[in-house]
């Protein structure tokens, strides 16, 4: 042990972007042949640190040692030469190139392409056998599923003879089955002596696969511990700096009358793709219906139809009366008038206008409210401002300054502004899309509490999320979507992640054992739609 040098050793790395100190005096040692987790909230500086290691940014201060050798990494080329490979959260693949071309790009052997491609083809075969990374070398990237694309990224790194592999939030786009497969591959890589750094905000992944884990908070590395010596609650506390409730604290639901009744909903998009296929479900007052699924399987379209910005065929009853799905009153304004509030999936484009100030954002969609009007033409800005201030105080938005532009708030606080705007209207039905995407743990806890509180007031809630933990924790009933259809409904107490994962992959006979190949085939089949969604 004493003779082996660490695969990576960082000493005193600091990096500032203007006044923001993204990394403060970070030191870390990763031993070869281990899986090291880096966990932290959004904006804690994890990605910045890894970008420095991969040569995307130059550190202001500090030193990098690779296998005991002091190494300068001014650009990605140097990182690759040092044996570092990186799998980014958003894949860096050329969509209309084949797998082979993507692997070869930047690692060609000479000016001519053919010998390089032939060599890579052979090499891929060997790698596929060695690490169970089977990919068709001639498949075009845009035709294969997300899990496959990720494998291509890993292959790219291995082809460049990387022995240190950094993965940035690798499971964000995967189904649980695909994630398990990924972890098996990572385990295999570790056995072969590769060093793996896993960046994530999911505590479960850290506990499952890492040997050691470092926690980052506000640009600092607060602690590094052996995974076996810690627990999820302990890690969460280290991340946030205070005790956090990981489980949502809620009483059993007391469903009453049906608020929303959806019958045979169909949506076909401009390209002629059938996005929603005969979707039917209902939500009762005082109940949270969770919609699980890999992103791009029709959940977005469902929210868009209910929120009033996509037209559809079928029937929707709200409080027993039909909703206009195609006509003049099929817009968002009319939906809000019917008591439907919407926290959209994409808060940067649909939930907020980032350039506008917080107080303006708190009134969007409700600016016709008489209490915001001074006369028929003039708006009462003072009233909106005061209202915004109250909402921000109640929802603990920090900093509590309504004059600040929305873009200047952190992800969690931006989301709180949106949630405050919608929940404060006291809607009968709240649509929530990915409420905690890019939101830090502390704010997740708060937003979940608000959603449960609204349910306990006897309101209906439709929750769409790709995070299974969130769906399992919040929902009173779970519907799983795949390829525009609802594959089934389950009660959280009577199901588990495995069963939901199979449903998310389009497998309905969940009792039977299934191989990963079957599931992949299913996903690839529906994949064309799934991958285009961001």
């Amino acid at each position: 042990m004493t003779t082996t040098a660490p695969a990576i050793e960082l000493k005193g790395i600091s990096k500032a972007f203007g006044p923001v100190q993204a990394n403060k005096d970070i030191s870390i040692r990763v031993m070869p042949g281990t899986v090291h987790g880096i966990i932290g909230e959004n904006g804690a500086g994890k990605s910045t640190l890894m970008s420095i290691l991969y040569g995307f940014y130059k550190a202001d201060a500090g030193e990098i040692f690779i296998h005991g050798q002091k190494t300068e990494i001014p650009d990605s080329q140097a990182a690759i030469a040092a044996g570092i490979g990186m799998v980014f959260q958003h894949f860096k693949l050329v969509q209309n190139f084949s797998v082979l071309e993507n692997v070869v790009l930047g690692a060609e052997d000479g000016a001519m392409l053919r010998p390089s491609l032939a060599k890579a083809r052979e090499q891929l075969k060997t790698l596929a056998e060695e690490y169970e990374l089977h990919v068709d070398p001639d498949a075009i990237i845009e035709d294969i599923g997300v899990g496959m694309q990720q494998r291509v990224e890993i292959l790219k790194a291995l082809y460049r003879q990387a022995d240190i592999l950094i993965l940035d939030e690798p499971t964000g786009v995967l189904t649980p089955a695909e994630a398990d497969q990924l972890f098996r591959i990572l385990g295999r890589l570790k056995d072969e002596g590769k060093t793996i750094i896993l960046i994530t905000h999911k505590l479960r992944e850290i506990m499952d696969i890492t040997d050691t884990v470092s926690v980052m908070r506000r640009g600092e590395m607060t602690s590094t511990v052996k995974t076996s010596d810690t627990s999820p609650a302990d890690l969460a506390e280290r991340m946030v700096g205070r005790k956090v409730l990981l489980r949502v604290d809620k009483q059993p639901a007391q469903p009453k009358e049906t608020i929303l009744d959806v019958k045979g909903l169909n949506v076909t998009d401009e390209a002629g793709v059938h996005r929603l296929k005969d979707v039917s479900f209902n939500i009762k007052a005082g109940e949270i219906l969770g919609i699980a699924g890999v992103s791009g399987n029709g959940q977005s379209e469902l929210l868009e139809v209910l929120g009033g910005y996509t037209k559809a065929n079928g029937e929707i009853l709200m409080n027993g009366a039909p909703i206009d799905l195609t006509g003049a009153t099929s817009d968002g304004q009319s939906r809000r008038a019917r008591g439907i509030a919407h926290v959209p999936e994409d808060r940067h484009h649909e939930g907020l206008i980032l350039e506008f100030s917080a107080w303006e954002n708190t009134a969007f969609g409700y600016h016709h409210d008489p209490k915001y009007q001074r006369s028929n033409i003039l708006m009462d800005n003072a009233a909106i401002l005061q209202d915004a201030q109250e909402k921000m105080d109640r929802f603990d938005v920090r900093p509590p300054n309504p004059q600040l532009a929305a873009k200047n708030f952190s992800g969690g606080n931006q989301q709180k502004i949106v949630v405050a705007r919608e929940i404060e209207r006291d809607p009968d039905l709240l649509l929530v899309g990915q409420p905690t995407r890019g939101v830090d743990i502390g704010a997740i806890e708060f937003i979940h509490q608000q959603i449960v509180a609204l349910r306990d007031k006897g309101k209906a809630i439709l929750l769409v999320s790709v995070e299974l933990d969130e769906i399992m924790g919040l929902s009173d009933r779970i519907a799983v979507m795949f390829d525009g259809q609802i594959m089934g409904e389950r009660l959280p107490a009577e199901t588990d992640e495995k069963e939901l994962g199979l449903l998310m992959a389009g497998v309905t006979d969940t009792d039977k054992p299934h191989t990963i190949e079957e599931i992949e085939q299913n996903l690839a089949h529906a994949g064309a739609g799934a991958t285009k969604e961001v």
Partner: protein
Amino acid sequence: MDFFTIVQLGDASIRMAIPLLLACLAGLFSERAGIFDIGLEGKMLAAAFLSAAVSFSTGSVWVGLFAGIGISIVLSIIHGLASITFRGNQLISGVAINFFAAGLTVVIAQGWFKQGGRTPSLSGAARFDGLDFPGALTRVRDKMQASPGMQFYSEFVSGHSILVYIGLLTVPLTWWVLYRTRFGLRLRAVGEAPEAVDTAGISVVRLRYAAVIICGILCGIAGAYLSTAVQAGFTKDMTANRGFIALAALIFAKWRPWYALGACLLFGLFFAIDNRFQNIQLQVIWIMVLLVGASIAMTVYALRREKIDVLVLGGLSAVLTAVAIMTWVGSTGEDIGAIAALFETVKVPSQLIQSLPYLFVVIVLAGFVGKAIPPRAGGEPYIKER
């Protein structure tokens, strides 16, 4: 139409297609690398002027050619600075280059040569002459009496300036560079996903500059060809929007080199028809069938698409139909009865023939030729994401 006329038409098509082809391939290199270049026109014009001017002054067309290529590369690098280094708007930079070239060429020509914005006529070694292949006939009278094979060889194969052969060779060369070399792979990648290129440790900036410079070289040859091979000197606005037609051809060709050859030959054919047949005589009924047929085809297509095409193509087809009816009514004016007028032979308006290539551009751009997917990262400056 006899065989020799067809051969002559083919010969002229190639001659007219070459500047388009060179500009089109220039645009292909640039756009495949993610830099939209609307300034092909300006670069050609500047090159046309400078190569004519330098050829005249030095007496050597080769020196002129390199001067033309040089100025075109300079303009390319300006476009590169604006759109790659300073991440500006690529359209604005391109338009600026067009204006710059259109104005400055005439002003400088007037300043240097005082011939109303032209360069003096080039002759002898200051001009690219046709290369006569061994055994090829050169006199038109001899050619007309020769066998079809000999006509084809003498007129179609032989007798072009060297730039024509260079231009044609550029097509397989471009294909080979794009699909068979490391540089080509990276070039295609940088126009689709610059972030993939960047993370693979390759410089996006250097690749894009390389592409833009190749674009400059090809535009330079195209411009020099116009003023030193097709014409014998520079005249004001002599590129006649060929840079824009080349862009349309590029879309038509779906950014592929062999398709580009096809597209440019088609446009070249239109220009050749225009040049050769100022005086086409056709029976009225055929003119009507052609025009009304075209307008029906457009209308049907436009209605199927339910988009803005309806407006553009609908308007066009209405114009075509109107021209058809006017031709007919015009011929009945000679008091021969409506039916007989259908079989009357009239001269096809030369304006109609002249408008053919441009009409075709509109149709191409309205998306008549199927879906063309431009390079994904085209027109977007690359900024490393945080």
